[in-house]
C-alpha cells in the first residue's frame, strides 16, 4: 500500500458542508501531488470550500477561473510553466457541471492538444454549489431542485467521452477509497500529456443522507456496481481491487438507492434503467479488462 505523506495542504478551516467528500478528496490529491502544484478551479463547490478572501484553506496556489474555462486556463498555464522550464503540476479540480456540461468544450480541446495536465472531476451528480440543480451527470430518477419529479434522462458517460481522446491515463476513483485515489493521482502525474480521473463524491446535503454516512455511501456505490473503480493506462484497462470483488458478487442496487432521499419516488422503470446501465458498463469493462 502506498505511503501517504503526513504533510497537509488543506488547512482545517474549509467552509465545506458537514460530511463533504470533496474536501476529503482534495486532501489526498494534494498529498499525492506535493507542493509544486497549482490547482485550477472553475465555479464549483470548491470555489466556496477554499474559503473567502483574504483567507484561504488551501496551501498550494489556487487559480480560480470562470465556469467553462478550467481546461483552457490550464492549457495556457501548463504551456507557460513548461516554457519557463518549470515542472509544476497543473491540476484542474472541477465539479461535474463544470466538466460534463459547461466545461466540456474546453476539456475536449485541451485533451485533443495533449495539454500536459491532470484533470480531476469530482462528481456529486448535480450543481451542488448552487443548491443541487440537475447536471448532465445526475442519474436517472434522482430528484434535484430542477427535477422535482426525478430526472427523466440517463447521465452522460463522461469517461467514454474522454476515452475518445485517447489520453495516456484515465481512471475512476471514489472518496470512500482515498488510498486508491492517492495512488491514481500519483500515477497520473508521472505520465506526460492529458490525464483524467473521475471521482465519485457523495454529497450528504444534496443526496439527502446523514453526513456521517459519506464513506458508507461511496462504498455502497462501488459494492452495488453503480460506480466502478478502474484505470486505463495507454488504453489498457485494469479493474481496481474494490470493484473486482464487487463485480463478482454485487450488492442489490436498492442498498444504495434507499438510504438516499434523492431517490425517493424513483419509478420501477427508472430502477430498471439504472440496472441496465450497470449491467452494460460491467459487461463492457470486464470484456475490455479480459
Amino acid at each position: 500500500m502506498a505511503e501517504i505523506p503526513k504533510e497537509e495542504y488543506i488547512l482545517p478551516t474549509t467552509s465545506a458542508c458537514a460530511g463533504c467528500s470533496s474536501s476529503l478528496c482534495l486532501r489526498y490529491i494534494l498529498k499525492a501531488s506535493g507542493p509544486d502544484t497549482v490547482l485550477v478551479i472553475p465555479a464549483c463547490c470548491t470555489s466556496v470550500i477554499q474559503g473567502m478572501y483574504p483567507r484561504t484553506a488551501v496551501n498550494v496556489p489556487v487559480y480560480n477561473i470562470a465556469f467553462a474555462a478550467a481546461a483552457a486556463c490550464a492549457s495556457g498555464m501548463s504551456a507557460a510553466f513548461r516554457a519557463l522550464g518549470k515542472k509544476t503540476n497543473v491540476i484542474v479540480y472541477a465539479g461535474d457541471g463544470g466538466t460534463v456540461d459547461i466545461g466540456l468544450q474546453s476539456l475536449s480541446g485541451a485533451f485533443e492538444r495533449e495539454t500536459d495536465f491532470l484533470y480531476l472531476c469530482y462528481d456529486n451528480e448535480a450543481y451542488g454549489n448552487t443548491g443541487m440543480q440537475r447536471s448532465g451527470a445526475t442519474p436517472v430518477g434522482a430528484r434535484t431542485t430542477t427535477t422535482p419529479a426525478g430526472k427523466a434522462h440517463s447521465r452522460k458517460d463522461i469517461e467514454q467521452i474522454v476515452e475518445a481522446h485517447r489520453p495516456p491515463y484515465l481512471a475512476t476513483a471514489c472518496s470512500a477509497y482515498p488510498t486508491d485515489l492517492f495512488s491514481k493521482v500519483k500515477k497520473a502525474l508521472t505520465l506526460p500529456g492529458s490525464t483524467f480521473i473521475h471521482i465519485l463524491a457523495p454529497c450528504p446535503t444534496g443526496w439527502k443522507f446523514p453526513p456521517g454516512k459519506t464513506i458508507e455511501m461511496g462504498k455502497l456505490a462501488v459494492k452495488t456496481g453503480m460506480w466502478v473503480l478502474y484505470e486505463r493506462e495507454y488504453g489498457k484497462l485494469a479493474i481496481s481491487a474494490p470493484s473486482k470483488a464487487a463485480m463478482a458478487t454485487p450488492l442489490p442496487l436498492a442498498d444504495y438507492l434507499s438510504p438516499q432521499g434523492r431517490f425517493k419516488g424513483i419509478t420501477p422503470d427508472q430502477v430498471q434503467e439504472l440496472e441496465r446501465e450497470i449491467a452494460a458498463r460491467r459487461e463492457r469493462l470486464l470484456r475490455e479488462a479480459a
Partner: protein, 372 residues
C-alpha cells in the same frame, strides 16, 4: 527595414518583436492572417513562443489568462463574434490584473452576417476594464502593438490592452511599413502577483461586499494612471523610433471652427475631407481619437463638432458622439456611417460637415430618420 505590408502583417511583425512566451488564438475573418503569420514564425523558429491553437475564443482568452498568471508575456488576436464570445474572459483578464495584449480586427456583429469594418464589436466591450486604442495605418498598428505591451505591463497599469484596427480597410490593405528591432523598448515582464509555489495564494477567490469594491476601484485607479503611462511610453517611442503618437491625432485644428471627430481609418479619411473643405473656405479640422479607454477627452470647447460613429448603441445613439457629449462641452452633429463596411469617402465626410445641424443625428444612407 522598409517594406510594404497589410495591417495584419504589421501586427504580427510587432508581436514577433515583442517576444511573447505564449500565444493562444482561434481564427476568424478578417484576423486570420495575424494568427497564420504567428503560427508560421513559431514553426520556422523565428519566434520562440508556444502557440496554442485553442478550440474557441473563450478558451483563447482563458489560456492567455492561465499563461499570463505565471508571469509570462501573452498575446491573442480576434474579431467581431470572437470578441463577443470572449466577453466573460475579457472581464476576467482585467479583474485578474493580467497585462494580456490583444489585436482586435474590427468587424460588424451578426446577424446578418457581415465581415466588414465596424466598431460595435470593440465598443460593446468598453466596460470590461481593457485599455482600448484604435489605429489607422499599418505603421501605426505596428508601433502601437509595441507600445501596448509596455503600457499593459507597466507597474502602474497591469491591465490588458486591446489594439483595434479596421477590418479589410486596414487589416488587408498593403501599405508602407518600417519595422525596427524593438531592442530594450519593452522591458522584461515582472508581474508582481505571478503564481509562486513558494508563496501560495488563492487568486480571484470568493470576495465579500467589504472587499470587492476595493478591487474595482484599483482597476479604475490604474485606468487613470494609465493616461500618464501612455504619455510616457508614446514619448519614449518617439525618442527611440522617431514616430510620435498621442491620445488623439489632430489635423489642422489650430484655427478650425468645425472639427470632425472619428476613430480608426475614418479618422484618416476625415483629414482629406478637411483639405477639401478648406479649399471651399470652410475652416475645418480633424481629431482622430486613438485611446478610447482610458477615454482621450479631446478639448473641443468653442468649436462646432461633427462626430462619425462606425457603431451604434440602440436606443441611445453613437457611442463616440455620446462619449464626447459627456466629457467635453459640445453639441455634436452625430453621423452614423461606415457600419458593416459601408463605403464612406472623403467627399461624403465633407458633405457631412456642409450639412451639419448641431445636436442632430444623421444615419448615412438612410432615407428618413424621424425624431431622435
Amino acid at each position: 527595414m522598409h517594406t510594404i505590408a497589410t495591417g495584419n502583417r504589421g501586427v504580427a511583425e510587432a508581436v514577433r518583436e515583442a517576444k511573447p512566451g505564449v500565444v493562444a488564438a482561434y481564427p476568424i475573418t478578417p484576423q486570420t492572417e495575424i494568427v497564420e503569420l504567428i503560427a508560421q514564425y513559431v514553426a520556422q523558429g523565428t519566434m520562440q513562443a508556444t502557440y496554442i491553437p485553442v478550440e474557441s475564443e473563450h478558451s483563447a482568452m482563458a489560456a492567455c489568462i492561465g499563461a499570463s498568471a505565471t508571469g509570462i508575456r501573452t498575446f491573442t488576436a480576434t474579431s467581431s463574434q470572437g470578441l463577443l464570445y470572449m466577453h466573460e474572459m475579457l472581464h476576467w483578464a482585467a479583474g485578474a490584473r493580467l497585462p494580456i495584449v490583444m489585436a482586435n480586427v474590427n468587424r460588424a456583429v451578426a446577424p446578418p452576417w457581415n465581415v466588414w469594418a465596424d466598431h460595435t464589436d470593440a465598443l460593446s466591450q468598453r466596460d470590461t476594464g481593457w485599455l482600448q486604442v484604435y489605429v489607422a495605418t499599418a505603421q501605426e498598428a505596428y508601433d502601437t502593438m509595441l507600445m501596448a505591451f509596455r503600457i499593459a505591463e507597466h507597474e502602474d497599469v497591469l491591465l490588458p490592452v486591446m489594439v483595434n484596427l479596421d477590418g479589410f480597410i486596414l487589416s488587408h490593405t498593403m501599405q508602407p511599413l518600417e519595422t525596427t528591432p524593438a531592442g530594450d523598448f519593452i522591458p522584461p515582464l515582472s508581474l508582481p502577483h505571478a503564481i509562486d509555489i513558494k508563496d501560495p495564494a488563492a487568486y480571484s477567490p470568493l470576495t465579500g461586499p467589504e472587499y470587492y469594491f476595493g478591487f474595482r476601484w484599483e482597476i479604475e485607479r490604474s485606468m487613470r494612471d494609465a493616461r500618464q503611462v501612455i504619455r510616457e511610453v508614446e514619448e519614449a517611442f518617439a525618442g527611440k523610433f522617431g514616430r510620435r503618437y498621442g491620445p488623439v491625432e489632430e489635423y489642422r485644428t489650430e484655427d478650425a471652427e468645425v472639427v470632425i471627430v472619428a476613430m480608426g481609418t475614418l479618422g484618416r479619411e476625415a483629414q482629406v475631407a478637411v483639405d477639401r473643405l478648406r479649399q471651399e473656405g470652410i475652416p475645418a479640422g480633424a481629431v482622430r481619437l486613438r485611446w478610447f479607454r482610458p477615454f482621450a477627452r479631446p478639448d473641443l470647447a468653442g468649436r462646432e463638432v461633427v462626430v462619425i460613429d462606425r457603431d451604434y448603441s440602440f436606443g441611445f445613439g453613437g457611442v463616440l458622439a455620446h462619449s464626447l457629449r459627456a466629457t467635453t462641452p459640445c453639441n455634436p452633429y452625430s453621423v452614423i456611417a461606415g457600419l458593416g463596411g459601408q463605403e464612406v469617402t472623403y467627399a461624403d465626410i465633407a458633405q457631412f460637415v456642409r450639412q451639419r445641424k448641431p445636436g442632430e443625428e444623421f444615419w448615412f444612407g438612410v432615407e428618413s430618420h424621424g425624431d431622435v
